[in-house]
């Protein structure tokens, strides 16, 4: 046997030579026109159902109303009160969660496949017969206000809220945040009206994946096919962003803080913009993974922080490019300075091919993992569908990762990585 050479890297197949296939979903309509996107796969006997409504906070007339309505869907119907509803899910080990976003709000079910037939009627009563009882709303308000109080003492929570309000303006759905008095102002009538407009008569899409029973489509049609939902998504209100004039902020939240939460952010177009996918590559190299330049410099060389990341926000209408970290109080300004120096380096120097190849391989290996299993695959498709894109977006993104050149990335750095375009915030 030859002596083992530990200094030499074993041969690899570069992920840039892989071919990728986005396995398709099945699409069908229920009797009332609700679209169902379905993927039947997986070795575990489990499944996931997500009902996505046009019920995000961009539709609300009062701050916090969309989230409150979404939350209270599981807190009582005319046949089952909140306890009974929870008990009915939990007895079978199923999880029913709600979540509210900007354009959409969602109800999800995770269950062992063998119990799905008992779970669907529970979803149906929530989505057709919720009551929004005053006592449930009061408990929700009280507990939300308490949670808010705790969160407002956390610098990273405060920083995340403020940076969005600077970029989009405090009245924009992406920039708005709720205060205790906003929660106080919500009434059961508000919730019922929002429920009527955005759930009972709203637009719904259903995403279902996992190990599905043979009669899944029949069951879904039986349960959801007679609801009064409308076929097309609700038109989004046209609310323009009103970015703040002032770009630099230093805020003291806690005089005893030992760290500052840093956010540096600039408005950025959405996924339909031709630069978007290339900038995803540039961002990965800059601050999007553990081997990024920001992490290598600011954590692994300077030791200023436990972690630093940059990312493009996943919004439908417009995005922002954000750098986010928590750093020692004394090194916050030095950290910000290093971030700008890393931007400068990308503007002024062409990226070496070796570093770019590493980023390409890392990103493509990651995509391979993201296509693994029905839940991951559906998450990819859902993002494509809700962003009004198609599978070409996926194949284009793979092609971009494989082929974007260092020169193109430098041009994009010159275009977007200008310090004067960025808002800058430290919350101590």
């Amino acid at each position: 046997m030859n002596k083992l050479n530990r200094k030499e890297t074993p041969a690899i197949k570069d992920p840039i030579h892989y071919s990728f296939q986005l396995k398709p979903y099945t699409h069908y309509l229920l009797a009332n026109g609700i679209s169902v996107y379905s993927i039947h796969a997986g070795s575990q006997e489990v499944l996931q159902i997500e009902l996505v409504y046009s019920a995000g906070n961009c539709f609300e007339k009062k701050k916090g109303l969309a989230a409150a309505t979404n939350f209270l869907l599981k807190n009582g119907t005319s046949t089952l009160n909140a306890f009974q509803l929870n008990e009915a899910f939990e007895y079978y080990g199923a999880y029913c969660n709600r979540s509210c976003y900007n354009e959409t709000a969602m109800i999800s079910l995770h269950t062992l496949s063998k119990h799905v037939v008992k779970m669907l009627p529970l979803l149906k009563v929530m989505l057709s017969d919720s009551l929004f009882l005053p006592e449930e709303l009061e408990i929700y308000k009280q507990n939300s206000k308490q949670r808010l109080k705790v969160n407002k003492q956390k610098a990273d929570f405060v920083a995340t809220r403020l940076i969005d309000s600077y970029i989009y303006g405090p009245e924009h759905p992406y920039g708005v945040y709720t205060e205790p008095e906003d929660l106080d102002a919500i009434t059961v009538e508000d919730c019922r009206q929002f429920y009527n407009d955005h759930y009972l008569k709203g637009h719904c899409k259903i995403f279902v994946c996992g190990n599905l029973p043979d009669n899944m489509s029949l069951m879904l049609n039986e349960v959801f096919g007679k609801l009064q939902n409308v076929i097309s998504p609700l038109a989004l209100p046209d609310i323009q962003a009103t970015p703040a004039q002032e770009k630099k902020y230093r805020i003291e939240n806690d005089p005893k803080a030992v760290q500052g939460a840093i956010r540096i952010a600039s408005p950025f177009p959405n996924r339909h913009h031709p630069d978007f996918q290339k900038v995803i590559v540039l961002n990965t190299l800059f601050g999007g993974f553990f081997g990024s330049r920001l992490m290598s410099n600011i954590r692994e060389i300077k030791g200023y922080t436990y972690g630093i990341y940059s990312y493009l926000q996943n919004h439908l209408q417009q995005s922002a490019w954000v750098i986010s970290t928590e750093a020692g109080k004394k090194v916050c300004e030095a950290t910000i300075n290093e971030v700008y120096l890393e931007m400068k380096a990308l503007r002024e120097n062409t990226i070496e091919e070796e570093e770019l190849l590493l980023v390409r391989n890392y990103m493509l290996g990651n995509i391979l993992g993201e296509l693994d299993g029905p839940f991951h695959l559906m998450a990819k498709w859902k993002n494509i569908i809700l962003n009004n894109l198609d599978e070409n977006y996926f194949y284009d993104s793979v092609e971009t990762i494989k082929t974007v050149t260092a020169t193109e990335l430098q041009t994009l750095a010159v275009k977007y990585m200008q310090p004067e375009l960025f808002y800058e915030l430290v919350v101590y």
Binding site: E90, G93, A155
Partner: protein
């Protein structure tokens, strides 16, 4: 049923292989049988600091991350009071890269002074971010000190103080490495789109030549049975009063562990659980309340924690918690309530086993406990728990003298 095969190399390294041909990925999981509980009480936080240093280059490979990223992989690690676990996931055809990287750092680290200096700072920032600069961040520091008097669970994984981390020397690093990071103290699991024979030969090739090292024989002080109730009050800069109560429970491999785990779910496993329904919804004394344990290998703690609704007195809140505990003690649970938490366990396990990375980590942890097949058989241990056993176990756990209580009070107006 999750299938796997196992073999042991001549140097004592134990390897488990779990094949799943439906994924294009593979995972290499290396678990070292060392955690914060193995630390010197004067040098706590070391196992975790050491985990950071494992990414600072090894004997023949100056940087760990880059070759892995180049092969399309990613990795991470975590340290607990019981163990340290490293994992990388990458496209299956590049699995050898992971063997090369993991075996070289098991062979020997680079012991770079620079890496130690930087990672000391990084860990101090991690300490600040999670335990100092967050409201309620130091609660577990206080609780562990209150509930454990002898056993090294009395300090947190991150360390008992920043100073311990700041004072770590390169000599400490070397001694720790040669004591714990050896083939006979490690468990390797390889999972995904791979073959057992291929993994056997890769293991022989890369891990086989590493000297076995000495088996570390753990001899930890046993926590003496608690004989009187303990109490501490802390005033802190937090907006809400919080109540914490801990009771000692059995170790992970005791059948009673499963009973205690189900009890925690009965008390607070969702919107229909007892504490939530009674104390958050009906009496509205707490804005949230949870009951949990950390699944530790040695005897652990069952903990109830909750934040009080502003205006509620601590005395009233605590009495209401005890009323629920007493109800459980006196009336026990119904068959249907027990069935509910068993069903929940079955479902949670099925979802957890979806990802090949989780399966690899689970096999490694069960192997550490002494029986990798628990990944398949553990559910039956939960299913065997009876209403009567719940009754006995609640009596054993919820004794006044077995309890430590922390009142964590707000000093804000």
């Amino acid at each position: 049923m999750i299938q796997f095969e196992a073999f042991t190399l001549a140097n004592g390294l134990r390897v488990w292989v779990h094949q799943d041909k439906s994924t294009p990925m593979a995972v290499l999981n290396v678990l070292y049988d060392v955690g914060a509980k193995d630390e010197n009480p004067e040098k706590t936080g070391f196992a975790h600091l050491f985990e950071h240093l494992m990414f600072g280059g090894s004997k023949n490979i100056p940087v760990y991350d880059e070759p892995l990223q180049n092969a399309g992989g990613e990795n991470n690690a975590f340290t607990t009071n019981d163990l340290t676990n490293y994992y990388c996931q990458l496209p299956a055809e590049n699995i050898e890269t992971a063997f090369w990287l993991e075996s070289d750092r098991m062979l020997s680290l680079a012991f770079s002074k620079k890496s130690l200096e930087v990672q000391r700072k990084v860990v101090c920032e991690e300490f600040k971010e999670h335990y100092i600069n967050k409201p309620y961040g130091d609660v577990w520091h206080t609780l562990r000190t209150l509930a454990y008097k002898q056993h090294p669970y009395r300090w947190m994984t991150i360390g008992a103080s920043l100073k311990h981390v700041e004072d770590a020397t390169l000599e400490d690093v070397k001694a720790f490495f040669f004591k714990h990071y050896t083939p006979c103290n490690a468990i390797v699991v390889v999972a995904g789109n791979i073959d057992t024979e291929q993994i056997r030969s890769l293991s022989e090739k890369w891990f086989g030549p590493i000297p076995p090292g000495e088996k570390y024989n753990r001899n930890l002080p046993k926590e003496p049975e608690q004989t009187t109730k303990r109490f501490q009050e802390v005033k802190a800069n937090v907006p809400l009063d919080a109540l914490y109560k801990c009771w000692h429970i059995s170790s992970r491999m005791d059948q009673r562990y499963y009973t205690a785990d189900l009890i925690s779910d009965i008390l607070s496993g969702g919107g229909s659980s007892r504490l939530f329904q009674s104390l958050v919804k009906e009496k509205q004394l707490f804005s949230n309340i949870d009951c949990y344990h950390l699944g530790s290998t040695d005897a652990g703690l069952l903990t109830i924690e909750g934040k009080l609704v502003k205006g509620t007195g601590m005395k009233e809140a605590e009495a209401a918690v005890m009323e629920e505990i007493n109800k459980l003690l006196q009336e026990g649970v119904t068959e249907s309530e027990l069935e509910k938490v068993k069903n929940k366990t079955e479902s949670a396990m099925a979802f957890e086993d979806m990802s090949v990375m989780n399966r690899a980590a689970s096999i490694a942890m069960y192997a550490l406990l002494g029986d990798a097949d628990l990944i398949n058989t553990e559910l039956s241990k939960y299913q065997a728990v009876t209403v009567e056993q719940i009754r006995e176990e609640t009596k054993r756990i919820f004794r006044e003298e077995n309890c430590s209580t922390l009142h964590y009070l707000s000093n804000q107006p």
